[in-house]
Symmetry: C2
Subunit: 490 residues, 2 copies
């Protein structure tokens, strides 16, 4: 209720709380002090250094339930944490030292893999890589694929509705999730962990926790769809003259091979230049021509009895004839395909090595990608002549990581001083085209201001009512995603 | 809030309310009296005859907003209605004569079709058939396909998360929905009508209204994914000795042609016998042998450059060699395919012509279909020797319409007297296997008792908190899905 005060633990209660915590999870699994908690208290990019009252590492769902109930009783805020690979400060404690980090890192079991049902059930602390391996062991594909998959966990990808490189074909985490087990703010366990494909018995509650950023409950386990493994993957690097030509190529390609288009990435000239200026061993330009835009795509086929390669060749030939494609290379081996993807995956690191940057994660309808690139580019050039635009991303999903590096010779402080104006230019261009200011990274603390600026007020108000209904004392992740409720006397 | 009284309109306020309603939608679009409202007040199966205070037919979202706000002020319950094709009494008024039917049947516009984005935006009263035709006109596929598609509307399929015949490949309505426009209980408009494929800016609120059965808001428009049209569809009717053999065949088939398996239906001997006992013109058994179980499947291919037929043949040959398939026919033409599907689609009508029946709509994991059929069959035979089991449905999704016709010679009253015991046997068998008591039809009024019996109490309690948060005065569809809140003084 809006008038309810939010309790907060007092320092003289710390010891009693920590003792009760140790009684639940065992004292070896209650971490305190700077040294013990360091890896849990700052996000991995170190944009949000924090401090924790403690880190609790429960062994099972029952312990999570008891930790949450205890924390709620003591008025301790709970910050659920998976692999700590988030990009928006959503899973680490603030600087107050009064928040409890609830790490799921001991809950790593693969509970069940079922090849016939094409489903897998995993505990929240299981990594995406472990999920892929478990599926692979059963001859199936766990279709989520992320740069951070070695560390990112099930609970984290669910809570952030993670996307990644194969969304075009398989959807994002929401589309892959069949069921969830969630600990609620009063410690009760919401068991929606089935693997049913169809179940119309009331509101689909699990959807609230997918992308809920840990503000409504703690995801303790999840079940996901599995898919058939690809029998063949075709990877191509293609030069196109314009973003419109890239979108047209996507259209030709899906027209010819339909849902087999698994990934479709756009890479701008400046982006490739940064990669080639800061290469890893052996990296080189896959094409001999200079091109303003490149496309990297995968077409995958699950049937060993069918081959999409002739259809892909036909599409590329027709596009070249129409000057919609100016050059192309198809990987001749898995190793070559890996080399092409390595260029794409090295982009963030190359941009870091290049120097200061300002980053965005926008989406628009695929058809409006060219318009967005033109509008945002013009606005940025007007704001800061010479600004270098590092544009790349999942064009097949309408999602661009549309970043900026400072103009050659500009002072870093002068560049940083314009950061908000750059955000406004980019987010404004996306918003005017009906786009999103956060396509896959979420809101957390980093994007809350932009979220409140661009999200319709009715939507934010409904979210606040949902938060209030499920977590009335704001036990979970206060101030992340939604602003803290105003503190009022009861 | 639990203590808040729910208002109810008094008869002396009827005239003022109706006048205000007419001022919003025009007096021609406020229907009253038995004759004017008959088609809106009972469900099409006439299991729930009702009476309405009036039927309001707004022309646009703004009018819906004003009607809802007016109704909320007057304490009039609002029952949103689309094509009135639901099966659980969720969209028609109760017998009190005090509920307002809010029909979306004037809001039929196709707002936008975008072939490049593979998206379509439609008003709530647009039929599924009209959506299919609009998509077809743009060279795309609207992948929802239902027996009732000529009448069922966008608002209805969203609010019930409709399934249908192609869920295996394209998913249910939830999977197809990109955005919604919804009028909330205070009349405000929640605009989430984008067509973005990726947008992680807070809770995905639209999910609550998909399958929300009109209890949380009025869906006024929706945007959906479109797909590539199939270049070729292969339809086959196959005899299998057991349900396990059917599941094995599904596994072989998806192994060979993956996601191209578009539909996979199981039909029991008794089901086919009823169809052939009450045939439409020209219907005949597609096979010459008698078989305990038949499978009807579609494999569709979107690429004109690729042909899945050799792979399907190879699967059937291998299965016949292993005695997992005893006979098979592949449709040689679109007309033959249509004839095979007509047998499947005639099942409900044939069962009606056969006489009294008791119906279910359960789901379990695909791998547990054989176990469910064995367990439920044994329980029913023990309960009522000679009971005839009419088993058919979407096995590829784990969804069976597992119905019963009365034993030959049994008195109808004696059969009906056992209805609850039959429900308990079937629902119990599904529940023990982790299944659902309503896979695609929803809860409405018909299944509320079973819903409360089988849904975990924690889930029901969270749903009630959501309902309370979004519709605190219970304006929308009171008593459907969730029980009416207990009436307490404020």
């Amino acid at each position: 209720m809006p008038g309810r005060a939010i309790h907060s633990i007092m320092p003289n209660q710390f010891d009693a709380f920590l003792a009760a915590l140790a009684a639940i999870v065992g004292k070896d699994h209650v971490l305190t002090g700077q040294a013990g908690t360091a890896r849990y208290t700052a996000d991995w990019r170190r944009n949000f250094p924090g401090a924790a009252l403690a880190v609790a590492r429960p062994a099972d769902t029952q312990q999570v339930s008891r930790v949450v109930a205890l924390s709620a009783r003591h008025g301790v805020a709970v910050v659920p944490q998976g692999g700590n690979t988030g990009l928006v400060g959503g899973s680490t404690p603030d600087a107050s030292g009064r928040e409890l980090v609830l790490s799921l890192d001991r809950m790593t079991a693969v509970r069940r893999v079922d090849a016939l049902d094409n489903s897998i059930t995993l505990e929240a602390g299981c990594t995406v890589l472990a999920a892929q391996e478990a599926a692979d062991g059963a001859g199936r594909l766990f279709a989520l694929s992320l740069a951070s998959e070695g560390s990112a966990t099930v609970g984290g990808v669910v809570s952030t509705n993670a996307g990644g490189e194969q969304v075009l074909r398989y959807g994002n985490t929401r589309d892959l999730t069949l069921g969830l087990e969630v600990v609620l703010a009063d410690g009760s366990v919401l068991d929606q962990l089935g693997t049913l494909r169809k179940d119309n018995t009331g509101y689909d509650l699990k959807q609230l926790f997918i992308g809920g950023e840990g503000t409504l409950g703690v995801v303790t386990a999840a079940s996901f769809k599995l898919h058939a493994q690809p029998a063949k993957v075709l990877t191509a690097w293609v030069a196109v003259p314009t973003p419109q030509a890239a979108v047209d190529l996507l259209c030709r390609l899906t027209g010819a091979v339909g849902e087999r288009v698994t990934a479709f990435e756009l890479i701008g000239r400046q982006t490739l230049a940064q990669v080639l200026a800061h290469p890893l061993d052996g990296m080189r330009n896959p094409l001999t021509i200079d091109t303003p835009w490149s496309v990297l795509f995968d077409v995958s086929e699950t049937s060993a009895l069918m081959d999409p390669e002739p259809a892909v060749h036909a599409v590329l030939e027709a596009a070249m004839e129409a000057s919609a494609v100016t050059d192309a290379v198809i990987a001749a081996s898995g190793r070559q395909a890996h080399e092409l993807w390595a260029l794409r995956e090295h982009v963030p690191e190359a941009q870091r090595l290049d120097g200061p940057s300002i980053k965005h994660d926008i989406s628009v309808a695929v058809s409006r990608i060219p318009e967005f690139i033109a509008a945002a580019g013009a606005a940025l050039e007007a704001l800061m002549p010479g600004i270098r635009i590092v544009c790349f991303g999942h064009v097949g999903d309408g999602n661009l990581h549309y970043n900026q590096s400072k103009p050659a010779g500009m002072d870093e402080a002068a560049f940083r001083a314009q950061e908000q104006a750059v955000h406004d230019a980019v987010h404004g261009a996306a918003a005017r085209l009906g786009g999103s200011i956060s396509a896959e990274h979420g809101i957390g603390r980093l994007k809350q201001q932009a979220f409140l600026q661009y999200k319709p007020a009715v939507s934010v108000a409904v979210m606040q009512r949902i938060k209030q209904a499920l977590d009335p004392h704001c036990t979970f992740n206060p101030g992340r995603l939604l602003p803290r409720p105003v503190h009022q006397p009861s």
